[in-house]
């Protein structure tokens, strides 16, 4: 959304999750149930005391009624909760240690060890756990089946999923600069793992731990319910086992079988809610977006046509992110037919936000708070872009104004063929076109940008970066739009490919006559190819003039600094792109 691409270094992650309602609810549930399990047994008396008031409903002396043998259900639940928590935490710790061992160590060491560990984890993952646990428990005589035995068995059958997740994450961490630096510095492997890698895995480990605890409590409950749990232990599962065998259900004794299940469900829910918050640390994209605030009518109203050769007029446009950051401030701008308007500025100067807002592609929390964007059609007639209803906006997009995004790598859908992605533009905007014409048009578009039409059958991963960007340009021309917005169209490509693509763009512009808004931080490049240049700084356009003018007489100090920061700008303008002679200032 901003100039930060998906691959840019993430801002330092917060060490602690924010106290969202989800987290508070989750922690409250966990704390309450844990307290109940720890303190309850001390306060609530003997759970096994037999009474002659079997199966009394809740009320009176027994808050939650009694079992078939007159035992107090509340006291039983307290003990059972403790038993379940004990096993859950035990398994959680063991499974996490196992998964860390196989997931982190394996992938860090790499090579054969990683292959072996990974194969082992995957095999353990696909072998169904509970049947295995049942078989193992069945072979252990009941008198030897203690809580530890059960916990070990559950841990052995339950670690593999986490190991896989941890492995994937470690593989990416392993190649980070600071880890490589530590390796080059000759630090021992155990130290790199514990000091450099483990801290970064902590949120993930925590989430996997929480997950194992839930899984363990559920599995143990299932096992005990089947009569295969730890002997002489009291867990929520054994309680349900006795309730089932005491025909609690058939006798309508809901107070006997409902509460243990509810406790498990609520505890699991609490842990899951905590996991939500941990997930939001691991993946910041999951964080809740602030709700969009409706702003009052924008001022000023759309403008009339300033002169015949203007195609887009932007007036006093302001864009803010969530009411705090003003990314674009009161910007006015005109794009003329067939011209290349360069938009220069450093990362974060608001140039991408501005370009997106012109086509209303900005996403919440970004919002246009003031100003207007007017599109002047070739054949007369103006469109107030910011006021278009969604259906008309869809029809407007691409047919009048298309976009080539930065990062050629990601602009194409990896699971669809090039043809499908080109053709769906036509099926949407030119529904009456026959299948044959559609195909012919796509093939012609590829030929225009110098890509073999046989590539229509390819998937994006089968094309080189330069070819992908050519495909994007072909797609952008498919509907013969009047304006094309190009956001860093060549910055991910090497210089030679870059030059070829720019030359292509210039040629197509001469042939087809569309206007181009070319966004880049590469000022020398803009000086060569564009007709006019607008320089952005801190969300404002500080200078807007013909390219020669900007080069010869930069008015704003920032422009001068920008020009001065490039080593050599002495070559003839246009020499680089038009003749292919590198003038030293390319990158």
């Amino acid at each position: 959304m901003t100039d930060l691409g998906p691959d840019s270094p993430a801002p330092r992650r917060a060490a602690l999750p924010r106290l969202s309602p989800k987290l508070v609810t989750g922690l409250a549930l966990i704390t309450a149930i844990t307290l109940f399990g720890v303190a309850g047994p001390l306060l609530l008396g003997d759970p096994d005391a037999i009474n002659d008031i079997g199966l009394t409903s809740p009320g009176g002396g027994h808050v939650l009624g009694t079992t078939q043998m007159g035992q107090d259900v509340l006291a039983q639940i307290a003990y059972a909760t403790r038993g379940s928590l004990y096993i859950g935490v035990l398994v959680g710790v063991m499974a996490t240690v196992l998964s860390a061992l196989f997931g982190i160590v394996g992938s860090y060491v790499g090579g054969v060890v990683d292959e072996a560990f990974s194969l082992f984890s995957n095999v353990m993952l696909v072998i169904p756990g509970l049947p295995l646990v049942i078989v193992i428990s069945a072979f252990v005589p009941p008198e030897q089946r203690g809580a530890w035995t059960i916990a070990v068995v559950l841990a052995i059958t339950g670690w593999a999923g986490s190991a896989r997740v941890l492995r994937a994450q470690t593989l990416t961490l392993r190649n980070r600069e600071y880890v490589l630096a530590a390796r080059v510095a000759g630090e021992p492997a155990w130290r790199i793992i514990t000091v450099e890698i483990l801290p970064n895995l902590l949120p993930l480990l925590a989430s996997q731990f929480v997950f194992s605890v839930i899984a363990a409590i559920l599995s143990e409950a299932g096992l005990s319910f089947l009569g295969l749990g730890a002997s002489n232990s009291s867990t929520l599962g054994t309680m349900l086992y006795y309730a089932q065998n005491g025909f609690a259900l058939q006798r309508g004794a809901w107070w006997w079988f409902a509460p243990p299940g509810l406790i498990i469900a609520l505890f699991g829910c609490g842990l899951a809610l905590v996991n939500f918050s941990i997930d939001e640390i691991i993946n910041p994209r999951l964080r809740a977006v602030p709700r969009r605030i409706r702003h009052p009518r924008r001022e000023p109203a759309p403008v009339g046509r300033p002169s015949q050769d203007v195609v887009v007029s932007v007036r006093n446009l302001s864009v803010t992110y969530g009411n705090t950051v003003q990314a674009v401030k009161d910007v006015s701008l005109e794009v003329r037919r067939g011209e290349i308007l360069g938009l220069a500025g450093e990362s974060g100067s608001g140039k991408t936000t501005l370009a997106y807002a012109i086509n209303r592609l900005h996403r919440p929390p970004a919002e246009v708070t003031a100003g207007s964007v007017t599109f002047h059609h070739r054949d007369g007639g103006d469109t107030d872009v910011l006021a278009l209803p969604s259906g008309e906006l869809r029809a407007f997009r691409w047919s009048q104004m298309s976009v080539v995004f930065q990062g050629a790598m990601n602009s194409l859908n990896p699971v669809m063929t090039i043809r499908a992605q080109l053709e769906d533009v036509l099926t949407t905007h030119r529904p009456r076109l026959s299948r044959h014409d559609r195909r012919a048009r796509c093939a012609r578009a590829l030929e225009l940008v110098g890509v073999d039409p046989a590539r229509l059958r390819s998937y994006p991963h089968e094309l080189s970066g330069g070819m992908r960007q050519r495909v994007m340009i072909a797609m952008a021309m498919l509907l013969d739009p009047q304006v094309m917005i190009m956001d860093e169209p060549t910055s991910a490509l090497d210089v030679v490919v870059q030059r070829g693509i720019l030359r292509e763009i210039l040629r197509l512009r001469d042939e087809l006559g569309f206007g181009i808004v070319l966004i880049t931080h590469d000022l020398p490049l803009l000086l060569e190819v564009s007709d006019r240049i607008a320089v952005m700084l801190g969300g404002e356009i500080v200078e807007c003039a013909a390219a020669e003018e900007v080069l010869a007489r930069p008015r704003h100090p920032y422009t001068r600094r920008l020009l001065g920061s490039f080593p050599s700008l002495t070559g003839e303008r246009g020499a680089f792109v038009r003749t292919g002679e590198a003038t030293g200032g390319a990158r």
């Binding site: 072998i127 069945a138 072979f139 299932g222 295969l228 299940g261 995004f405 699971v415 669809m416």
Partner: protein, 331 residues
């Protein structure tokens, strides 16, 4: 091609691991299961012929002085022939026959329930992720309660409400015993009627995982460039949501199918117990209660094979959905 070879190789390795595990578990455990089985067999009036004893010994291990390697090879031979010995609890029916009659029940039940759960969960997750921050999305945390509810407890509650209290569905069993199993409408209708509550149990418990998984991936995918491109192309919302966002967002969920299926299989075993469903889960527990080790081992193996098979199918499906796997770069 390399992808398929790798996948088949992997599942063969997993199968071998399961078979081997099956061989070693009884041998590592305390006690003498063979003697217990023989005693049981005698109680039932079964003749203890040396052949039966030999089959049990191979399966469960006992101190006969035979080298382990030789036992192992003979055991593998028996497994290849599907010879798991004779079931004690269903004497004198062979284990393979007990499994053959109960397996279809479970496969159909778990199969239908899983498909339903995937469709409903992934569909809702897709829409919730797409309409992020709306009321639908705010319901997502509530689904975690469903995922945390023990299967069997949910089954008990459903039985109490829809079986006992409302009387809409039968309490237990897989079909009405008045009808003879076969391809007739009466029987099929009755089987469907009996299967609704068990299937509902599995769907409710497993739908949350799919929903959450797809919703979170949707949120991540929506900020990908290709989704922005699709929007800029002016495509209809539905096309962007399904073909650009959801198709990519579903990939990790499909890759994680093995984990989900493990939970479903575990849950269905316990659920079958609650409903006395005539499937393989009930048989497994019957076997455990009767110390019918041969049947137990057989069921474990067959379940594993079924799960491996399902995972293989999903892996092959994955390669259809994601063209990048076919390139062989990442298998």
């Amino acid at each position: 091609m390399r992808y398929y070879v790798r996948k088949f190789g992997f599942y063969l390795a997993a199968l071998w691991a399961a078979v081997t595990l099956n061989f070693f578990i009884p041998r590592m455990m305390p006690g003498d299961p063979v003697s217990i089985l023989m005693a049981k067999l005698q109680q039932r009036g079964g003749s203890v012929n040396p052949e039966a004893r030999r089959a049990y010994e191979l399966l469960l291990g006992t101190d006969t002085g035979e080298p382990l390697a030789k036992q192992y090879l003979s055991y593998l031979g028996n497994m290849l022939h599907g010879d798991f010995g004779i079931s004690v609890s269903a004497y004198p029916v062979p284990v393979s026959e007990v499994i053959a009659t109960s397996l279809p029940w479970t496969v159909v039940l778990v199969g239908i329930a899983t498909v339903l759960s995937v469709l409903v969960g992934a569909g809702l997750g897709m829409v919730a992720g797409w309409r992020r921050g709306t009321w639908l999305d705010s319901l997502v945390p509530a689904t975690t309660v469903l995922a945390a509810v023990p299967y069997f407890w949910l089954a008990l509650v459903l039985v109490a409400v829809f079986g006992s209290a409302l009387g809409w569905f039968p309490l237990i069993g897989g079909y009405d015993v008045d009808f003879t199993p076969g391809w007739n409408l009466d029987f099929l209708g009755s089987a469907v009627h009996h299967g609704i509550l068990p299937a509902l149990t599995i769907v409710i418990s497993s739908v949350g995982g799919w929903l959450l998984g797809l919703r979170n991936m949707m949120v991540s995918t929506l900020s990908e460039d290709y989704v922005l491109t699709a929007t800029a192309k002016g495509l209809p919302d539905r096309r962007v949501m399904i073909w650009y966002a959801a198709r990519n967002a579903a990939l990790p969920s499909i890759a994680g199918f093995a984990i989900s299926l493990g939970f479903v299989v575990a849950g269905s075993i316990v659920t079958e117990q609650v409903f006395s469903y005539p499937g393989i889960g009930s048989k497994l527990l019957e076997a455990v209660q009767n110390n019918d080790y041969a049947l137990m081992q057989g069921i474990f193996l067959v379940t594993t094979v079924a799960v491996l098979g399902a995972n293989l199918v999903v892996d092959l499906l994955y390669s259809v959905i994601d063209p990048r796997t076919r390139a062989g770069a990442n298998a």
